[in-house]
């Protein structure tokens, strides 16, 4: 497979991600619009749905904040040229910054200088997993800075259990108010260590909203949290209403006996997510979008 195929596929993926929402997110927003009882909340959801339509029709990013780029990679062990993928991803994001375009969002934390091309130290962030196969699967999840800023981690006391966990989520949702651009998608990471919990919260945001969880305990907790969050009344944009979240998704890990880490990550209503699978023979499939 030529490396140019991979680079072009990544640019297409980055564009798809910021221009068009996956179907599951779109139908969740439509459902929220139909169910919303607050007139102000409903008007916000209407503006959101209008915005999605214009973005699709004009091929323009739906939100000016195209995020700090992360790539989640599933690398088939038999996929050739893995050692060159990082370089290609960096080149692709630079090109996409001009061609899509994406807003330049990589800033040096000490000099405050913007690199203007969306690359920098540890940026784009890459999360690798090695799997069996001869393909490379790439997922990108552009998220606004406003919702990233609402992320939270707590090392709970082990005896707080699921009540503590729910309390943690509800407290953070109410404190965040309109800042993460609700209705949000909420990713919850439970267990592991502090770094693992936040990683899991982010991974939970990769899950589609319309696939019920196989694990019954997790499925029930997700459902309960979804209902509880929507009972807070924060509503679209924090202006009040029934729709505060489109879905709560959980990933978990076993924990240390003395620790109960929980992490929450928010994705704004523009819960952008796109996945491409690039096969060794050069075939490219876009798994989240019709192309």
């Amino acid at each position: 497979m030529s490396l140019e195929v991979l680079e072009n596929a990544v640019i297409t993926l980055l564009k798809l991600a910021v221009v068009k929402l996956p179907e599951d997110v779109k139908s969740a927003l439509e459902k929220a619009y139909r169910a919303e009882r607050s007139p102000i909340g409903k008007a916000q959801l209407e503006a959101i749905l209008d915005n999605i339509k214009i973005a699709e029709e004009t091929g323009t990013p739906m939100c000016q904040d195209t995020g700090l780029t992360s790539f989640y990679l599933e690398a088939g062990s038999r996929f050739e040229g893995l050692e060159r993928v990082e370089g290609i991803l960096r080149r692709a994001i630079r090109r996409a910054t001009v061609e899509v375009p994406l807003r330049p969002n990589a800033v040096d934390p000490f000099t405050q200088e913007n690199t203007n091309d969306n690359t920098g130290r540890q940026v784009p962030y890459m999360h690798w997993r090695i799997v069996d196969g001869d393909f490379l699967e790439i997922t990108t999840v552009p998220n606004g800075g406003g919702s990233e800023n609402m992320s939270a981690l707590k090392m709970m006391s082990a005896d707080e259990g699921t009540y503590g966990l729910k309390k943690f989520v509800i407290e953070n949702v109410v404190e965040a108010g309109g800042l993460p651009c609700p209705p949000t998608v909420i990713g919850l990471g439970v267990g592991g260590g502090p770094n693992i919990a936040m990683d899991l919260a982010k991974l939970a945001l990769l899950k589609p909203l319309d696939k019920p969880e196989a694990d019954k305990t997790v499925a029930r907790l997700e459902r309960e949290l979804y209902e509880a969050v929507n009972r807070t009344g924060v509503g679209p944009m924090g202006l009040g209403g029934d729709s505060t979240t489109l879905g709560v998704k959980i990933e978990y890990a076993h924990r240390h006996p003395a620790s109960y880490p929980v992490a929450v990550a928010f994705h704004c209503w523009a819960a952008r997510r796109a996945t491409a699978r690039i096969h060794s023979n050069g075939d490219v499939e876009y798994l989240t979008h019709k192309v």
């Binding site: 503006a47 000016q64 913007n114 800042l179 009344g233 924090g238 009040g240």
Partner: protein, 200 residues
């Protein structure tokens, strides 16, 4: 809750007619400013330097747009609001010294801004966060740009807008805040849920 059309320059008396929950559409000139621009405005005031942009009777939009330069002319692709709270440390001084009548952003603002709005006759309106292409659709032209050295998101953009909205009034010139009301209700709902045994 009423629907209001505002044309710039906005008169102070028209601001006093607005109440929280009202929906507003703006036509005329609008100027963007984010953290860095606010900081510089205050620095200019301190040093007695004249600011290259005026906000007199104009809406100040918390926005870092996604822009493109085609054939020497800027066009706006996406221009949703950014989190207004970041401008909270500076906004009261900007309202006081620059005659801002309407601040547009998302997420709400704090006590200092609320007091300044009450005192100087201004209001805060929310544009749907992330609805950036809907915003761009109502921006007809880029009239100018200042302080581009801050980077395109942080620069001060002067837009010509038509029917820019829907904007929801979230702080009015009486000092009432829609966010505060919603937040107080959410706190009560939270407390109720945490007490309920069913929640466990």
């Amino acid at each position: 809750m009423k629907k209001v059309e505002l044309v710039t320059p906005i008169a102070e008396k028209d601001i006093h007619k607005l109440r929280i929950g009202d929906t507003v559409y703006v036509t005329g000139t609008m100027v963007t400013a984010r953290d860095a621009a606010h900081k510089r405005m205050l620095q200019f005031l301190k040093e007695g330097k004249e600011s290259p942009v005026t906000f007199e009777g104009l809406p100040l939009f918390h926005c870092g747009p996604l822009v493109k330069k085609v054939g020497g002319k800027w066009s706006v692709l996406a221009a949703g609001p950014t989190t207004s709270m970041r401008m909270e440390p500076y906004e009261d001084e900007v309202i006081k010294n620059h005659g801002v009548r309407l601040v547009i952003g998302k997420g709400g603002m704090g006590e200092k801004t609320r007091q300044a709005m009450k005192k100087y006759g201004a209001a805060y309106a929310v544009f749907t966060g992330g609805a950036a292409v809907l915003a761009a659709k109502h921006i007809e032209e880029v009239k100018g740009v200042e302080w581009l050295d801050l980077g395109t998101p942080e620069a001060v953009w002067v837009f010509v807008v038509r029917d820019f909205g829907p904007l929801v009034i979230a702080i009015d010139s009486e000092g009432k805040s829609l966010f505060e009301q919603v937040q107080a209700k959410a706190e009560r709902n939270k407390a109720r849920m945490l007490e309920q045994s069913g929640f466990q």
